[in-house]
């Protein structure tokens, strides 16, 4: 149980934040927030030992038992690794944000509440064993990401980026939900573990491919794979701590997590292997190629993240190959899953530190435009060192952790060309080739990032007097950079503690305990193809980097209208315009038309059903005789209606209408319905009073239109409505298909509800739901009227949302 509670701790802490922010002004709210992820890291660290031995921990809590939906926290190697990343990087990011966000100027409570919300959601994603709760947390990460990107909501770009990311990731999430539901239909369970246990049978199910594609759409949109990556560069409008946290270290890896988690289910499929490794590789190349085009520091990092996510994705695709060969644990294919997880850890360390450095540069110089920057090395030596460590690791150079995982990546890609199934023997050669080209570009943008910011001679004058960042801001990136170097020297410690337990979650059929994963990472493994490839990367990379200014112009050749962003914009605009045009077809702003729509629809539906079902009957059996008062009332009623219709002045019409209402109330009285009569009388009174109030604002009746023209369509509609009500009443009276429910109410009103007046007991007990929704609607209507009258915009007011 406690294990499940840990997921919700950040969310619970978020409840306290507004008070801390409001009442303790002197301390930066971030310090209180920092305690949350820091505690969680400490808690999750205690699990490491047991999980590394292959143990798993579960805790379950019912959510909606009637639908078999529950929260299940399932901590195995993969979940624990992600949980540690989320809370660990989370702590560093919160620490960094304390210095990044000014406590006077920023809306800190908003920021930290969104961040904590995200933390809970993300922990939920990686620990949920239940597909529906996984989906719930998944969308919650999208929503908190939306809020964080739009944190500076007065900026156009923030709102645009927030909306774009939300549209794409939530859209993908909906596809994924479809995939989940198909999976649950196939396996008759929502539990991922139970589905994995049934994996061999699921492959032959007719929905299998559908489920696969839909789940992948969710994973690809979230993890910014081609062609859905376009939201990630726009998400860089978020404050830099958010970019470092959500958009490089954690949230964008949710898709990776999902693919890794579901690999045992889907890996037997050829489509899975091709899609995951192919799209991953394409994304890797695409991201690295376009990273060099960027001029914004965070833009470079965004594209680099896209590319690195593609790299991990392609490794996961390659790891699925191990399911198709016999004795996979002895072949070279076993490396892919290990490399994927290992690179995921490495990426979180070096990319996190690079984002923080980009934030520092932005914070200290006031710009992130790489064309204006340069020569910062002498003024910001510490930042430069961290940036250099991160970039060299990203480029795949020793002695940094990126080198190790990059080598393993090349090994895995080289292995693919030897795979014999699924046409890999013909097309497989593309994998190492594309991987190599992408590595060259990765090298180029890594150098581009660090040298153009820190070393190149500055051309423009910077607006502020630049100096090194405060030490508080540097702590987090320095810690991450230390990891980058340390991991290079102790890769197998990391491997045993984190990577191997996670690998068995991806390949559970291959190994039964982490100890069986016989992979040792070494920095030096002789003169083999991978090493020569790396040397080639460095040589060509350096060459391209030296000449970057010459060939960067080539990017301008891509016509703007062919870009994916343009396609997205066009789609959104088209939907907007199209939907508006469609609405304008029938929304005429005239109450009369709307009433005509409603009334004609109701009468067509009701009369149509009556005719279609042959339900119309008329029988006067058992009806009471018509008495004198009823006739009198009827005459009054009809007179009232006619008066209302032909009245020359509005006041006469109101009085006529009032008399209709009171007469109906009298009808209730003589038919023994005191509750209805009472309500009708009071409603009538109040609406007359309301009319009198509104009366003042209405134009004189005669001025609107001298003589109302007779209109055929209106006559048809009104006659139809009248006929409908009459036919319905007669038919309902004439045939009793079911025994009346009033008998049931009569018998149970005292025993079940402890009351005597059925009408009121129905309102508050039997049909309490109806009443609850009705008063909610009433409240909304009241708010609507209030808003329309009190808050209407005058033309003079500025409707531009930007400050």
């Amino acid at each position: 149980m406690a294990q499940l509670l840990y997921i919700f701790i950040p969310m619970l802490a978020a409840v306290l934040l507004p008070f801390l922010y409001k009442y303790i002004k002197s301390i930066h709210t971030g310090w209180f927030v920092l305690a949350v992820p820091a505690t969680l890291v400490a808690i999750y660290i205690t699990y490491i030992g047991a999980v590394a031995r292959g143990e798993v921990f579960t805790a379950t809590m019912n959510w909606i038992p009637s639908l078999a939906i529950n929260f299940t926290s399932y901590l195995d190697g993969l979940s624990l690794l992600f949980s540690l990343l989320i809370t660990g990087i989370g702590s560093l990011v919160v620490l960094y944000s304390i210095f990044y966000l000014d406590k006077e100027k920023e809306q800190l409570h908003n920021f930290y509440i969104y961040l904590l919300l995200f933390m809970s959601a993300m922990l939920g994603v990686v620990q949920s064993d239940h597909l529906i709760s996984l989906y719930f947390f998944w969308e919650l990460t999208s929503i908190s990401s939306f809020l964080l990107i739009g944190y500076w909501f007065t900026r156009d770009g923030s709102r645009f980026g927030a909306l774009k990311s939300m549209m794409i990731t939530v859209g993908g999430g909906l596809f994924m939900l479809g995939g989940f539901i198909l999976l649950s239909i196939m396996g008759d369970t929502y539990s991922i573990r139970e589905l994995i246990a049934q994996a061999p049978e699921l492959v032959n199910h007719e929905y299998f491919t559908w489920a696969l594609v839909l789940v992948l759409l969710g994973a690809f949109t979230k993890s910014a794979q081609f062609p859905f990556y376009i939201w990630l560069p726009d998400a860089m409008e978020a404050p830099t701590p958010v970019s470092a946290y959500l958009h490089s270290a954690t949230m964008v890896k949710a898709g990776i997590y999902l693919v890794a988690r579901l690999t045992p289910i889907f890996a037997m499929s050829e489509i899975w292997v091709w899609l995951v490794s192919g799209i991953g590789l394409l994304t890797l190349f695409w991201g690295s190629f376009f990273a060099v085009k960027q001029t914004d520091l965070k833009g470079i990092l965004a594209f680099s993240t896209v590319s690195q996510l593609g790299l991990i994705m392609s490794l996961l695709g390659a790891s699925a190959v191990a399911f198709h060969v016999t004795n996979a644990e002895d072949t070279i294919f076993k490396f892919a899953a290990y490399a994927a997880i290992f690179h995921l850890i490495n990426h979180a360390t070096f990319k996190g530190s690079l984002f923080m450095i980009a934030g520092i540069v932005d914070h200290e110089t006031g710009t992130r435009d790489i064309r204006k920057l340069g020569g910062l090395m002498s003024v910001m030596p510490l930042s430069f060192t961290v940036a250099a460590i991160g970039s060299f690791s990203m480029a795949g150079l020793p002695p940094f952790n990126g080198f190790l995982s990059k080598e393993m990546f090349l090994t895995a890609m080289l292995a693919l060309k030897d795979f014999e199934l699924f046409n890999f023997d013909t097309w497989g050669i593309l994998f190492p080739v594309v991987a190599w080209i992408a590595s060259v570009f990765t090298f180029v943008y890594s150098f581009y990032f660090v040298f153009y910011t820190f070393v190149k001679k500055r051309e423009a004058q910077l607006p502020t007097n630049v100096h090194e960042a405060p030490i508080g801001m540097l702590i987090s990136p320095i810690i991450l950079a230390t990891f980058v170097v340390t991991i290079f020297f102790i890769p197998n410690v990391i491997g045993d503690l984190f990577v191997k337990p996670a690998v068995i979650a991806i390949q559970p059929f291959l190994y039964s305990s982490p100890g069986e994963v016989k992979i040792a990472v070494t920095a030096w493994h002789g003169f083999n193809t991978e090493l020569f490839m790396t040397i080639g990367v460095v040589m060509f990379g350096l060459l391209l980097f030296m000449t970057v200014k010459r060939w960067q112009k080539l990017y301008a050749l891509q016509p703007e209208f062919l870009s994916l962003n343009r396609a997205y914009d066009g789609m959104m605009l088209g939907l907007d315009v199209g939907a508006n045009r469609f609405s304008k077809l029938y929304m005429t702003n005239s109450m009369r038309s709307y009433l005509i729509y409603m009334f004609s629809a109701i009468s067509v539906i009701v009369i149509g059903t009556l005719l279609f079902k042959g339900a119309f009957t008329m029988s006067f059996e058992g009806t009471a005789p018509i008495r004198a008062y009823e006739l009198i009332l009827l005459v009054v009623l009809v007179t009232g209606v006619i008066t209302t219709l032909i009245a020359k002045s509005r006041l006469t019409a109101i009085i006529g209408l009032g008399s209709v209402g009171y007469t109906v109330a009298l009808f209730f009285v003589i038919f023994n319905a005191p509750d209805l009569a009472l309500t009708q009388l009071v409603i009538e009174t109040i609406s007359v009073a309301l009319f009198l109030l509104a009366f003042y604002h209405l134009p004189p009746l005669t001025k609107v239109n001298e003589r109302m023209r007779f209109q055929v369509n209106r006559a048809v509609v009104s006659i139809a409505v009248g006929a409908m009500v009459t036919i319905l009443a007669l038919s309902a009276q004439s045939q009793k298909v079911f025994p009346s429910i009033s008998k049931y109410y009569e018998e149970t009103v005292a025993t079940l509800a402890g009351g005597g007046n059925i009408v009121n007991v129905i309102l508050v007990d039997y049909r309490g739901f109806d009443t609850l929704f009705e008063i909610a609607v009433l409240g909304i209507a009241g708010m609507g009227i209030f808003a329309m009258i009190k808050l209407r915009l005058t033309k003079k007011e500025n409707i531009n949302e930007n400050k």
């Binding site: 509800a753 402890g754 007046n757 007991v761 309102l763 508050v764 007990d765 309490g768 609850l772 909610a776």
Partner: protein, 140 residues
């Protein structure tokens, strides 16, 4: 033209209380005899409307200094809280608890959680009706 509204003002002062207490009575009696939160709320608002007609909106606002939008919100919260309270005890949403008690002065009576729910309905009805009348009436 100056209107002479002495009579209506004088009457309203007395009739207001009659209607208002009748509203309370109808609201409380609802479970056994005709009435309930909805009618009670409407009657209470009609009592206030009578004051508005006899005096004017601003005077009434000083007599009854209630923000009706807040009143609506309170009513909704009370209704929703009553409906969800059983969930804390592990019962389904909207479970109705009632029992019979013997209270001093009043004697044997019954208490229902439906009553609380009806209080919410009452407040929402008063709140919304008065919000509408007040906003339309104030709009110049």
């Amino acid at each position: 033209m100056k209107t002479n509204d002495v009579i209506i003002q004088f009457t309203a002062k007395i009739v207001f209380f009659i209607i208002f207490f009748f509203a309370i009575h109808i609201f409380l009696a609802g479970h056994y005899t005709p009435g309930g939160g909805f009618v009670g709320g409407l009657l209470a608002s009609s009592a206030i409307v009578l004051l508005v007609l006899a005096f004017d909106i601003n005077t009434v606002r000083t007599i009854i200094p209630v923000t009706y939008t807040t009143l609506t919100a309170c009513g909704l919260i009370i209704a929703l809280a009553t409906a969800s309270f059983p969930m804390l005890l592990g019962d389904p949403f909207f479970t109705h608890y009632f029992d019979y008690f013997t209270l001093p002065l009043i004697g044997k009576t019954s208490l229902h959680t439906a009553m609380l729910f009806d209080t919410g309905v009452f407040l929402v009805v008063v709140g919304v009706t008065m919000t509408i009348i007040q906003t339309i009436g104030e709009d110049e």
